[in-house]
Symmetry: C2
Subunit: 101 residues, 2 copies
């Protein structure tokens, strides 16, 4: 299983994290991941029924902002919520968002 | 002093609030308002040195999302941070953002 490139904890940027969290489709992904164990759900399961280019855009926003990690295993991509990194850099932010979505 | 139109507390939408908070220029306004008493600072003081159209865009994002209220008194516009409304609808969110900016 290979982790796709992602910002380090130190590189997390508040503006990009808030932008990633501001979209209802991405909020749904974050909620689902918050209720799942790391790297269990596949990207296809998390964003079904979306055109590939739209799904790719959302995954890029989630991964590039550091909200979500994605790991590849062959042809499968599985995601996790980077809760520890987000909590360390922006204490209380993720909990506040999760409580509201 | 007349309050410009703004969403009610019940109308506040998480996605729009997060989008409003995701921009560094608007974050600076929010921080300044958080350190000031309501309707003390003028919009001109809060966003100096910006082209009028750019400033108007940022005020619209802040006011339409419900993050900030703006009151008019003649030719003067003064702003406040809608902390009580934001705290009531999204507990912990504003504090988490303020701690990070």
């Amino acid at each position: 299983m290979t982790l796709l490139p992602q910002p380090t904890r130190e590189q997390l940027d508040l503006s990009r994290v808030l932008e990633a969290l501001s979209n209802p489709i991405r909020q749904r992904v974050v909620r689902q991941l918050s209720e799942s164990t790391d790297f269990t759900l596949t990207c296809g399961e998390l964003l079904p029924d979306l055109p590939k280019s739209t799904a790719t855009h959302h995954w890029r926003m989630l991964r590039d902002s550091g909200v979500v990690g994605v790991a590849r295993n062959g042809r499968e991509f599985r995601a996790n919520l980077r809760r520890a990194d987000l909590d360390a850099r922006f204490p209380g932010l993720l909990d506040a968002v999760l409580a509201a979505i």
